[in-house]
Symmetry: C3
Subunit: 143 residues, 3 copies
């Protein structure tokens, strides 16, 4: 038994503003997780106006309701903020990114992410036109 | 010196809606942390309507005030959401879970969690009747 | 190749209430990260009324707007909370600390944090007079 380290940059295709289930897009690009019996996967997004979270992976209305909530809770009122050069979705995207977080550190068991039945990875795209997003995945564990 | 890996699923007993200090319940069930001189503990909850956070471990009114805040900040108004089949606490629980987060990654020093004096682990139960909750704890470090 | 473990407590100088870029203050005190080719850095704050987040590292108005947002979103109205012995910024600081989180787990690549171009580490000081703050940094990776 030895400790495996593996790191890989992945590109996630451009998505519309909102919350998107990306578990399969990440896992299908990821190498070597099958070699790890017990370990951790850190998934880190390299941007400050998009974020990652874990939530319900079945009903798409959960993702719609997330967008509704965050648009209401962080109002796009440019009179509230100074950093609005790129539009009303500029500063609000930074705030949402920090509320939700830029990374996930997830358990690995028997070569797979050990998530709950209903847990999936969301890409949270806070910009109106965010473009493609990059994440660095770092895997470590006992092989 | 070698790197230790240890992973364990723990069940946390059913609790009422609100914020609950569970440091002792987790630590009393956890094996092998005493073997680790320097390391990390990842605690991951396997649910999407409960969450984990670290906060004040002494005054119980802090936990009451947390519940007050989140109930006010994420209103249980079913007209705001589509995903409400399980009641007014359904979608709001998913939102709170992502605001607070599904996991903690904590330092280990000399066989114990290296937390601040006032830091304790909260189980955040967002459902009115959530039932028992499971977490996966992954320990790694230098033994 | 072997797995390196390194842990270090760092003190961050006292700052005014608000959001502060501390990437350089942390990195300048940190040993041994240059030995790690692929790894993870966990930065954990030992307090419950200050927090850490990752966000935009260039325009200082982003940090000002963060303070504006969180002061508005978590109102300092003592009639809302019980835990207010230390003043109107007492309970609100605990809430903000959990919304933003007490730790960051970041990828290391080629001896440096592998952050996005615009990402920097913020110390989020929620108290009016918080004083100096301590973090534990745990590094692990393949040397």
């Amino acid at each position: 038994m030895s400790t495996i380290w593996h790191q890989q940059t992945l590109n996630l295709r451009s998505r519309s503003r909102g919350f998107h289930l990306v578990t399969d897009e990440i896992m299908s690009q990821l190498d070597r997780i099958d070699e790890i019996r017990v370990g951790l996967a850190n998934i880190h997004i390299l941007h400050t106006s998009a974020s990652l979270t874990l939530n319900e992976n079945a009903d798409p209305t959960v993702r719609t309701d997330f967008e509704t909530h965050f648009t209401r809770a962080v109002p796009e009122d440019t009179s509230l903020y100074q950093h609005t050069l790129e539009g009303p979705d500029d500063m609000t995207s930074h705030i949402k990114a920090s509320l939700l977080g830029s990374s996930l550190t997830l358990p690995i068991r028997n070569g797979r992410l050990a998530l709950g039945t209903w847990q999936g990875i969301y890409l949270c795209e806070h910009r109106n036109h965010g473009g493609s997003r990059s994440v660095i995945v770092t895997l470590t564990g006992e092989g």
